[in-house]
Amino acid sequence: MNWQLALPEIFLSCSAMAILMYGVFARPERSFVMSSMLAVGALLLTAMLVLSGTPGVGYNGLFTVDAYSHFAKLLILVAVGLGVVMSLDYAEHANMQRFEFPILMLLAAVGMMLMVSATSLMTLYLGLELMSLSIYVLAAFARDERRSAEAGLKYFVLGALASGLLLYGVSLVYGFSGSMSFAEIGRAMADPKTASPGLTVGIVFIVAGLAFKVSAVPFHMWTPDVYEGAPTPVTAFMGTAPKVAAIVLLVRLLSDPFGALLGQWQQLIVLVSIASMALGSLAAIGQRNIKRLMAYSSIGHMGYALIGLAAGTGAGVRGVLIYMLTYVFMNAGTFACIIAMRRQGRNVEGVSDLSGLGRTDPAMALAIAIFMFSMAGIPPFSGFWGKYFIFTAAVQQGMWLLAVIGVLTSVIGAFYYIRIIKVMYFDEPAPAFDPRPASLSFVVGASGLFTTFFFLFPAPVVAAAEAAAKVLFR
């Protein structure tokens, strides 16, 4: 058995355990920073292991390593790494510097890596739950704060329901097709003798469960509340890596085993995508809390990413991957700025708190402006390219309506992004924020540079995404 296929995952799990042991026995006042550092180191090493890994299928077909999972895993590791770095300073101010924090992130990362490598419903569910359980705890991590506890509870109750739904879908698919493995299910689907509406119902439930994790409409309800209530670094984390993992998994699931039923799930994805884009852009208009606004914005972004899936082609999958890549950096950068919004040691979250930032902190204002323009899809920022590849894929498939709605909603969406810029540059300055810690400046700077200069060197990223997409659509 080729167990080395899962070497990165095994290494990361063992590291998490080792750091846990360290945290238990270390002096409490140092354990948080130290375990965070160790976590970042573990993530780096894992990324190197991923890079040096060879493609293959192992564990009786439960687990697959290919270019597609490579791309997703690296992106996830980067996103988790940024998440750990972002939480360093916040945790100390919010009095939640407990060593479990980075460990939970690592465990979530293991879950996500499992998800993107899953080629069986069993691995899929295990990975998904490992990720979800870690995030439930993270969402309620500031347990002395009412909002955080409420967020954690809401997320858990709804998430448990969604997981149950997914599991029910899995059991239906298993019941009607007789197998858990993607390959076997694919064969059962393609054969008209074994295909049955029960299978479709199963798929729909699985898709619904994953749509919940992606926070696509109509399974988005938890997003605004949880984004607003959870500690900001956790929100930042939830908004990036898990979204990547869930959408990558959704794409693999729908194009690999369920590929034969393209005609049936395509309508569903199209509807979900349109609803997400519309809600994401319309709802964000009236928001005053920037975290809530980002929640709606992320709903909208997932709608765009799903366009690529709806196209059901290699070009579409490539678009999804590139979109998620640009999204991760825009989102991480924006949230790093939000975490840096602190006055006299207290975090503030109102859009109006950004007033006059252009004068009190020009560098941060510029960074936010770049992220906002990028999210609005205005060239030359990276967000534009994500949308470009997505829309091209849709257009190639003749899905004009989807592309046109996408453009329309991005025009509407541009309104609220630009409103933030207006507040920053043209409103009367509010008191300056506290000095920004180096860790946040690092995340803002790195994301900002990527977002701004992606257009100069897109070729390697596009080539990698292309290779990844070829795995699913030859």
Binding site: L153, K154, V157, L158, L161, A162, L165, Y168, L172, G175, F176, G178, P192, A195, S196, P197, G198, L199, T200, V201, I203, V204, F205, A208, P218, F219, M221, W222, P224, Q264, Q267, L282, A283, I285, G286, Q287, G377, I378, P379, P380, F384, Y388, F391, T392, V395, W400, A403, V404, V407, S410, V411, A414, F415, I418, K422, Y425, F426, F455, A459, V462
Partner: protein, 932 residues
């Protein structure tokens, strides 16, 4: 060579952006020189290529960008591009000079020039782009930088609103353009302009042509402020005058018509093009000219005049004859020159007089004769006075309106009449500009007394008006070659022969010009009559207010909708989720291939006894839900349901499960009772009837759905895995009790995980409850130690304990072949111990059972792992099982499998878990240390 040069021209302004910011630290003049250098360098680098371009060459340079994707970073220089480069850089230079004097001394200029250069770079990118996507990218750069330029005086609310409006309109248009370009590239098969231009026929024949046309025109019309998207341009007059002179005369607003010119060979030549472009152009031409006269603000008049002239250019493209396109290009040049000079002059007047309100001015010619004279000449060009450049292109326009092929019969007078009306109106506002500002009495209470500006501030006007005159007098020499090559680039083919001359003889166009002149003078003379009529009949126009109002309304509507869509309540979310899932489930079943709910298998039958059991089960489950506000009753009903389930297991020949279920039921009831001590006896209903009905319906439908699916699944042929398990149980695991063999052998590793989870859960509970002290809920009798304990039960329990333990050992040992096993044995032991607590009280039991259950847990896990590791000693994988038979004295012969050690681990963990939970929960309301 050309590649480097084009790249340099494009990059010079962008390099200048940080440079001027740094230079302003030295001196504001250094910033000005830096900005001028960036522009001048571009002009100088372009100069050597002018002859080749004028000779009709198209110079293209490309770098690989996304090679697999056929996307290149490509630039192109042709006649049209060269013309616009000249306008952007040439007028840009003059604006740099002008702004240095216009802006107050205390402004360091760095920020201003940085934005100006960024804008100039964006414009250059638009006109030099060979790749359509690149064009869109730079198009948005101009939108963004113009937004910043308009809002340069961000202290003024007016400027902020105007900037936002400009960005919303032009940026939105840019996104539409992006969509259009994506489609265009798809249809034409390439984003390279050279290839797209060559495939006009393909594009026009494609069914998507109307969509492409609509989206591209949306981009062009918003940028060029065409009716009805013109509102942002007058609002943008809140910007500084140098900005208006640059953006709103020569460059930004010209980007729209540039796009029309660029894509002319691809998109024109259809009825749709002529109707939309011509129609919008004509309406804008007349409307802008009409409104311009009514503006009291100097810049407002110029803004509407710009709208009108852009409409004229659009109309010319819309006429869709080759000569009209030439005229359009010519008018682009002329308008840029005279309008820039007029804006600059207006800025000087504003600067010197302190106001832009024409009603307060008059007789300024005496105070500033030189500037006045220049402005009058430029206004003459705007009106189309002979010998000035505006006259020539207007003449060409008039000529094109006559005998247009698309109009015949009476309709052929339509265009000429429209042209003359437009001409009359433009003469009217030009006359007003000249008359009210420079003549007509003395100025009325101006804030400052105007005089001539500094020489260098006026230089840009000097240069531009000189051009107005030179082009007007020597057209062929001045613009002939560039017009020819630019027109060739627009038409992508034969340029019709044209002759630029002042005098063409007495022709119809000349007659029209004269008519327009005279009409315009009359119109100006009697304008008050018209104004009065207008005030009576037409509403006030307030594009900006309407925009703001629409913005607010949209925001409010979004918030209202969200309050409804996002109730922020968990029950509502859950209801929504379940509702959507139901809809999806039904949709999915009906959407697939048509199939009956029932599969081919027989349904089977239900005997009366089982039916009765099912009924009791249903009553128990339903009752639990209905009576959940009375926890004790609900618990009893839950017990009923559990009992029926275990009877069901028995009925369907699963004695193991029945045994397990039964013992689990007992443990559950006891633990729940302990927990209920701290909860109120009855909880009040907090939700209204409507919500409960909604939830009941949702739950009922959900249950029906799940039942239906289960039914569908069970009535279809289905191969279970139990056959394999039964076949392998004895040979592989050495036991005839399949359930137990599965637990400890076949899926031993799963069980390993499960007991680990059990142990962790117990430890978690231990950690949570340790040290927690709660008073019992109101209404629950709090028993004192030793008080109210059932004596009979206690007496009975003590001798029963050894018996119960013996039973559990028996169950444990026989488990491999007959119903039983570690799990059940553990539960039986736990129940036996638990009864001691229940009967004798916690103090009595704790004094006698001095075990540390945490250690029991640990021991259990340890034994299980050790068994697993044991197989490694024999070189087999983890948890490999072996078995043999032992025949001890006294006892019956029984089988001993190595899995039994594992089962022992399971047993210990179960006992430890249950007892730990029990003692912790039982001791919450007591004082003192608990848990052994």
């Amino acid at each position: 060579m050309i590649a480097g040069a084009l790249l340099f021209v494009l990059l010079a302004p962008f390099v200048g952006v940080p440079a001027v910011v740094l230079l302003q630290r030295l001196h504001r003049r250094c910033a000005a020189w830096g900005a001028a250098a960036a522009m001048a360098a571009g002009l100088a680098v372009l100069a050597p290529f002018v002859p080749r371009v004028l000779a009709g060459e198209t110079l293209v340079a490309r770098w690989q960008w996304l090679p697999e994707w056929g996307l290149d970073f490509a630039l192109r220089l042709d006649g049209l591009g060269l013309l616009f480069c000249g306008l952007i850089l040439g007028i840009g230079l003059l604006i740099v000079l002008y702004a240095a004097y216009y802006l107050p001394e205390k402004d360091r200029l760095g920020r201003f020039y940085a934005m100006l250069l960024a804008f100039a770079g964006g414009m250059l990118g638009v006109v030099l782009a060979e790749n359509l996507l690149l064009l869109v990218v730079f198009w948005e750069v101009t939108s963004l930088s113009s937004f910043l330029l308009i809002a340069y005086k961000y202290e003024a609310r007016e400027a902020r609103v105007a900037a936002r409006m400009a960005l919303a309109v032009t940026g939105g248009g840019g996104l539409a353009l992006l969509a259009g370009v994506l489609l265009l590239g798809q249809v034409a098969g390439s984003f390279d302009l050279s290839e797209v231009l060559a495939r006009g026929d393909v594009v026009r024949a494609h069914p998507l042509y109307p969509v492409i046309l609509g989206l591209v025109l949306l981009g062009a019309f918003t940028k060029s402020a065409q009716f009805p998207f013109h509102g942002w341009l007058p609002a943008a007059m809140a910007a500084l005058t140098p900005v208006s002179a640059y953006l709103h005369s020569a460059t930004m607003v010209k980007a729209g018509v540039f796009l029309l010119a660029r894509l002319y060979p691809v998109l024109s030549g259809t009825e749709a093009w002529m109707v939309v472009v011509g129609g919008v152009g004509a309406v804008t031409f007349v409307y802008g000219a009409y409104v311009a006269l009514r503006k009291d603000d100097l810049k407002g008049l110029l803004a509407y005049s710009t709208i009108s002239h852009l409409g004229l250019v659009t109309l010319l493209f819309g006429l869709d004859t080759r000569m009209a396109a030439v005229a359009a290009v010519f008018h682009i040049i002329n308008h840029a020159i005279f309008k820039a000079s007029l804006f600059i002059a207006a800025g000087i007047i504003d600067h010197e007089a302190g106001t832009r309100d024409m009603r307060r001015m008059g007789g300024l010619l005496r105070l500033m004769p030189w500037t006045g004279a220049l402005a009058i000449v430029a206004a003459g060009a705007m009106a189309g006075v002979p010998l000035l450049n505006g006259f020539l292109s207007k003449e060409m326009f008039f000529a094109e309106t006559i005998g247009h092929p698309a109009f015949d019969g009476a309709a052929r007078y339509l265009l000429p009449v429209l042209a003359v009306v437009g001409g009359v109106l433009s003469v009217g506002y030009s006359v007003r500009f000249v008359h009210e500002v420079f003549f007509g009495g003395a100025p009325r209470d101006l804030p400052r007394t105007p005089h001539e500006p500094p020489r260098w501030m006026r230089l840009p006007v000097d240069v531009l008006v000189a051009l107005v005159l030179l082009v007007g007098l020597l057209p062929q020499v001045m613009v002939g070659p560039i017009l020819l090559s630019a027109s060739a680039a627009v038409l992508q083919g034969e340029v019709p022969a044209f002759r630029l001359a002042i005098w063409h003889g007495f022709t119809t166009p000349l007659l029209m010009s004269v008519a327009a002149m005279l009409g315009g003078l009359l119109y100006y003379r009697f304008r008050h009559v018209l104004f009065a009529l207008h005030a009576r009949l037409l509403p006030r126009d307030g594009g900006q207010m309407a925009f703001e109002r629409a913005y607010r309304v949209a925001e409010l509507a979004a918030m209202r909708a969200m309050a409804w869509l996002d109730p922020r309540s968990l029950p509502a979310y859950l209801a929504l989720l379940v509702g959507f899932v139901l809809v999806l489930g039904v949709w999915a079943w009906r959407g697939g291939a048509p199939a009956d709910l029932a599969g081919p298998l027989a349904w089977g039958s239900v005997d009366p006894l089982t039916g009765f059991g099912l009924l009791v089960l249903a009553v128990g489950a339903g009752g639990t839900v209905l009576l959940h506000r009375r926890p004790l009753v609900a618990l009893m009903l839950l017990g009923v349901a559990g009992l029926m389930v275990s009877l069901g297991f028995l009925r369907f020949a699963a004695p193991d499960l029945a045994l397990t279920q039964l013992s689990v039921e007992v443990v559950t009831v006891v633990l729940l009772l302990l927990a209920l001590r701290y909860l109120p006896q009855v909880t009040a209903a907090e939700s209204g009837a409507a919500r409960r009905w909604r939830d009941a319906v949702l739950a009922g439908l959900g249950g029906l759905g799940v039942a239906a699916l289960t039914f569908a699944m069970l009535t279809r042929p289905f191969e279970t895995i139990s056959g394999w398990q039964i076949a392998h149980s004895v040979p592989g695991g050495g036991g005839t009790n399949v359930v137990n063999v599965i637990l400890v052998d076949i899926r031993g590793f799963d069980t390993m995980g499960e007991i680990a989870v059990l142990a962790m859960a117990a430890l978690g509970l231990h950690a949570l409850l340790q040290g927690l002290r709660l008073p019992p809920a109101a209404g629950v009798a709090s028993a004192q130690p030793g008080e109210g304990l059932p004596v009979m039960l206690a007496m009975l329990m003590r001798p029963l304990l050894p018996l119960a333990l013996a039973v559990s050992v028996y169950i444990f040992l026989r488990g491999h072949n007959l119903p039983g096993g570690g799990f059940i044995a553990g539960l039986v032991t736990a129940i036996a111990l638990m009864l001691q607590y229940v009967a004798g009280g916690i103090d009595f039991a704790r004094a006698r059972l001095r075990w540390n259950y945490v250690k029991v847990l640990g021991a259990g896990l340890g034994v299980a792992v050790a068994t697993g590791l044991g197989s490694w000693v024999f070189g087999r994988p983890f948890l490999t099982s072996t078995h043999g038979y032992v025949d001890p004295p006294v006892l019956e012969k029984f089988e001993l499998a190595s899995a039994m050690g594992f089962d022992l681990g399971v047993y210990l963990v179960v006992v430890g878990t249950v007892m730990l939970c029990l003692t912790e929960l039982g001791a919450v309301s007591r004082s003192g240390r608990v848990g052994g």
